[in-house]
Symmetry: C2
Subunit: 147 residues, 2 copies
DNA sequence: AGTGAAAGTGATATACG
DNA sequence: CGTATATCACTTTCACT
């Protein structure tokens, strides 16, 4: 599928604020709301738009910190881990990566004890490395057109 | 601010689909749409809700891969980097972390050459480590109530 | 803090450039 | 692929509880 300039403008609006009305998007990009509606539908069908979500602040709801946890899986333990990780409420993001380290997870934790019990659950899968997140410098920045 | 069970149900709906109408949320959680509207406004004011966004697939719009790039900053170079990183279109997320490695970035790249030119920009700030993302196993999972 | 009703605005389907 | 119109749904405000 083709993404023209108008579609990029619509994607920009939606990335800025997913709850913006089609009418408001239309005003900003210079078309009517049915046109916006149809284009959004096509972007969804083409899976260019993969969903709409809300940022809920982990700190404001009582989690004390975030951490990045890196897992170097033991032989044969990567596959079971990939299934298991989906069930952890703590994990908000999980990437499989190249190299000796196989997995990086972004986790939300309520306190140090919680970190300990969480890491304890991982030891059967491999070796872990924990890095506490001090700040989220760039947060879910927009995906922009390729130059 | 207090987050009661009703607010958690509303947050669950919004995290699943930020574009869900207040009326639809109301039907699912058992209140009227003005009630939903008012609660959402309070959650926004309390900065529990920090925004609404749209997932645009980097691969579908022409980026060939993602990478995690770790930066171990040279003495005195962390602060200038923290300003500079906001200007990079490639960086969709950037975390400052504890330990010898100071920064982890999630970046979208159009090809190998792009990776090289991007890393070249970083060498003045510190040493880098690059891990190519093979898959995004858990994607922006919901933040859930603390048990 | 939530409901119900009124008025305004937005979404959707259809007909037509 | 877009607009224009009409109908229906949703949002917002407000009086009341």
């Amino acid at each position: 599928m083709m993404i023209d300039e108008l579609n990029w403008k619509i994607l920009k609006c939606l990335q800025e604020n997913a709850r913006m009305s089609n009418a408001e998007i239309g005003r900003r990009v210079g078309v009517t709301s049915p046109a916006v509606s149809e284009r959004i539908k096509k972007l969804e069908d083409a899976e260019i738009i993969q969903g709409y979500t809300t940022f809920v602040s982990p700190l404001e709801v009582g989690y004390q910190f975030k951490a990045l946890i890196t897992l170097s899986a033991f032989m044969g333990m990567l596959k079971p881990f990939l299934e298991k990780v989906k069930t952890y409420d703590e994990v908000v993001n999980c990437y499989r990566i190249t190299g000796n380290e196989n997995i990086v997870m972004e986790v939300v934790l309520k306190n140090q004890r919680h970190l300990q019990t969480f890491i304890d659950q991982l030891i059967i899968f491999g070796e872990t490395k924990t890095q506490i997140v001090l700040s989220h410098v760039v947060k879910y920045s927009e995906v922009k057109p390729i130059k």
